[in-house]
Symmetry: C2
Subunit: 226 residues, 2 copies
């Protein structure tokens, strides 16, 4: 299927690469595609440039936010938390309305004092996005784990762990649940209810970060044992 991915960082690369490998038509959106592809500084997490990544994934087209959103039957928000609302504004309501937007972003703020969230507790980035784009079916998903496990849950404990999702539209959530299974093999997708549950899914990053520190690896996830 045609999938638009907003963001060309490590999360966008992981998602686009996996989707293209599975035969989907993935288009990645960037604020400035030419500049992103021309950047000579390597990504800190992947150790290489976007251009080097793209050479290995030529099937993925790198375009503007508007082109990626217009291309997608579904759109994935893989931008940074601070970049999400501007990216969606640039994508444009014409290209987003009535579509499902899978919001993978986290509102992380990095400072010398440590990492915190720019919105938390009584609101969330996902709700901010939903308010800015009321005709979009926002489904929060995949924000609770490291990018390599988003697209390959079976690589950890045979996939025996949990992916929470939240959103206001039950039909969109049911469809996303099927896609997550088909695209990546997610078996335990747990619907937490309406989009206010995204507050918990984003606040979980405050637990994810010390877990990552304690385990000295991002290669973990939670299983909701019940």
């Amino acid at each position: 299927m045609r999938i638009g991915i907003l963001g060309t960082g490590v999360v966008g690369q992981m998602l686009a690469g996996a989707l293209a490998s599975n035969g989907h038509e993935a288009v990645m959106g960037s604020r400035d595609p030419a500049s992103a592809l021309g950047a000579t500084e390597a990504n800190r997490m992947t150790g290489r440039t976007l251009a080097a990544w793209h050479e290995e994934h030529p099937a993925v087209r790198i375009a503007t936010f508007a082109e990626a959103a217009g291309h997608g039957e579904v759109v994935l928000n893989a931008t940074s938390g601070a970049g999400s609302l501007p990216a969606l504004e640039a994508a444009g309501s014409d290209h987003l309305d009535a579509k499902t937007l899978i919001d993978v972003a986290n509102p992380l703020v990095f400072s010398p004092d440590g990492v915190s969230l720019s919105v938390v507790n009584t609101d969330s980035l996902a709700e901010q996005i939903q308010r800015a784009h009321p005709e979009v079916h926002v489904v929060k998903a995949l924000n609770t784990l490291t990018a390599p496990l988003m697209v390959d849950p079976g690589a950890l404990a045979g996939g025996d762990h949990t992916l929470p999702i939240a959103g206001n539209d039950d039909g969109a959530k049911a469809q996303v649940t099927v896609w997550l299974q088909e695209w990546f093999g997610w078996r335990d997708v747990l619907d937490l209810g309406d989009l206010t549950a995204a507050r918990g899914m984003e606040a979980y990053l405050l637990l994810w970060l010390p877990l990552r520190q304690a385990l000295d690896s991002g290669r973990f996830n939670i299983k909701v044992v019940r």
Copy 2:
């Protein structure tokens, strides 16, 4: 051993009852023990009064915060979030200093708009407690799950799930880890580092609440799969 438990609500009752059943000398602390034992309104979660509970657990003494703290070789904070700092103030530094305090409380605020946290993101209740009582070894633990599972993890999936802890004193954390195993049978106690990690353990409540709603039960916990 001698254990002081601050708070006579459902969490305090669960902890004190289980510890007394295991042969420990448990004293529960209350702001006003006579009033708490004289209350005729049933606890909303247990459906019974403290006096009725106490009839079944006569080995547990119900005393003041100061008496409970003075009694304990270790002290457990099982008060409400809003009640924690006043309870510890009433308990008194003389009865707390140089002891380990296991902080089980969560800074929950209940309002018509829903449940939120009174402190979150760049601070935590546990850190507030530590700052107010710098000579106490605060260890955050047991705040991430429902009271019946705190004291009986084996009742869920044979105990195959995770209990995060955090604190600034490595010796206190090592001791608490042994106690949690001996008292209740916890097998996967995961040290998340210094007390700033309590921000994540408390913020996790924002995820715990919709999980509880989605599962229609508090009988669940997370396993950190790694």
